[in-house]
Symmetry: C2
């Protein structure tokens, strides 16, 4: 284990800005503070000024290290030295593996046996032990439970955890400092860790800022839950290109979103691909499909955003370069 | 023409730092100041700390706007209103077109009829008039000459021009402020505009900094000229993947390089592709093959750079996304 470490609070209820600020200080030396980029050419095309907070440049190419580190640093030394575990086929796997690597403790990552090989390898490269399982949520959870029993490792949920969502919220602290005069803040929503976390920060720092969650029409549980004011799940396997946005909101993230978020916008698959291609071609940055969803929402609602200043959180850039959708 | 404009000096001899600083101030409001990025994962892999100055995020995705703007702003109002012209199938075409657009004067860009369609379209989108010609240097020059005669437009050379190379040199002023403690500064070399410009700045600001030009073995005129101390040209059509690095040094750029540059390193095509893939995968940024040449030079000379701090100028990110070499 890392010789000197700080101990962050273990959150038992929805975090307040003060706590997220404390967590930001605590994780700061372990994460990057990615730049905010913008593109005159995209702005001209859509008639809106868009600012992209580039978490695709974050450690491991996604914002997930923030939440993983926030959760890991809330564990006691005794807990931490037994290691941390999670199940994930995506960016959260690498986030937890990286947090463990930085803290010099074991990571046990359960991945469905049909996960993308490059993501498995990237997780392995971080020193994590990979345990494969059947690609069902039931077998994923059963396998993690086994590891918890056998190794005493602590489970870090990808989103439905107050420390995790507080960690993801730290991105808004940086973003609203880097770009002060935003009218809108847009982020993709899946399990809601990022959206709930940033909504707490943004609503407190700037009550006039409109916070909008964006998601693929093909995985629109957040939209349906938000407007029905009760949790409604996706079908078992949503067929969106956005592999990072297939999860359902959780009982910890949903109430925070309901309280702070102004709107959820659903977008078509073809708008996502168009937005992704625009970002690649005009900004020369690599973003995964999930990260293109907020820009797709602007493309589909040009009038609504016309002339305004919109901040977008680019969540990640991990994808198979040999399998592009354009 | 732009109502209010500044007039930059028209340079008749190799610029000094003072003049390049003045030009930097003059063009500053027209250009971006791209961030410097680095990747722990690449650094760990090669045992060197590398800092990438991301001119792929510059206007039009390449550093070329700096030189074009420096040259354009040295013209009198009378000259400028007749427009500017150049022949280029690549990033310089867009640099000149963009400079003209910003200054609200005509641009006449001569492009070989076999240029990549997306590059032609991008240049057109900037409001330039495209004139196609045969893909020979003779016909390119003849066509530009015709335009100069007919329209009175002023020719802006892609590199062999003191204002152009001084403009490209401004990238080093920013870079050495953003990253103060470099041991090496690496840039690709083609016609030598960038390398000569930054060498003047870097040698003056930090005489201990080693300045290294890097080029594909398949277009190694700079290497051969540098060590023979006389201009030696490439074969007519060098077969490197780096479409931006096929030009020969010029009689204005070469003496400056000979005076200030410490070394020229040639690299293999397969190292360039490997370096390019590394940058895409580990940094999530889009760079064109030419921009990967400096990292390829480190990959081929790991011992030489081991443990040192190396600055690399990422020259651009314009390429056909449907035709990747990996």
């Amino acid at each position: 284990m890392l010789e000197k470490r700080i101990l962050l609070p273990k959150l038992r209820e929805a975090p307040r800005l003060k706590e997220i600020k404390k967590i930001h200080k605590g994780i700061q030396s372990f994460i990057h503070q990615p730049p905010v980029l913008s593109s005159n050419s995209i702005n001209k095309l859509i008639g809106t000024s868009v600012y992209f907070k580039c978490e695709n440049f974050q450690k491991n190419g996604a914002f997930k290290i923030r939440g993983a580190m926030s959760a890991a640093l809330s564990l006691s030394n005794k807990e931490l030295q037994k290691g941390i575990t999670t199940h994930s086929s995506g960016n959260h796997a690498q986030g937890v593996a990286k947090a463990a690597q930085l803290l010099k403790v074991p990571a046990y990552i359960v991945m469905p046996h049909n996960s993308i090989v490059s993501k498995m390898n990237a997780t392995k490269e971080l020193g994590a032990k990979i345990i494969t399982c059947k690609p069902t949520i039931k077998d994923r959870e059963k396998t993690v439970q086994k590891i918890m029993n056998k190794k005493g490792a602590v489970y870090i949920h990808p989103y439905n955890d107050f420390n995790v969502l507080a960690g993801q919220g730290t991105v808004a602290i940086e973003f609203l400092k880097q770009q002060k005069d935003l009218d809108f803040l847009l982020a993709p929503v899946s399990g809601g860790g990022l959206l709930s976390g940033i909504s707490i920060v943004a609503k407190k720092l700037n009550p006039d800022l409109k916070i909008i969650g964006t998601e693929p029409q093909k995985a629109d549980d957040a939209f349906r839950s938000f407007y029905a004011k009760k949790l409604i799940l996706n079908s078992n396997s949503p067929q969106t290109i956005c592999d990072g946005l297939r999860a359902n909101l959780g009982d910890k993230t949903f109430p925070i979103i309901l309280k702070n978020v102004d709107k959820i916008i659903r977008v078509k698959e073809k708008s996502i691909i168009k937005a992704m291609q625009l970002i690649w071609e005009r900004m020369n940055i690599i973003v995964e499909p999930s990260s293109a969803v907020p820009l797709a929402a602007i493309l589909e609602n040009k009038k609504y955003f016309k002339g305004r200043k919109v901040g977008i959180i680019v969540t990640g850039g991990n994808l198979d370069l040999k399998n592009l959708p354009f």
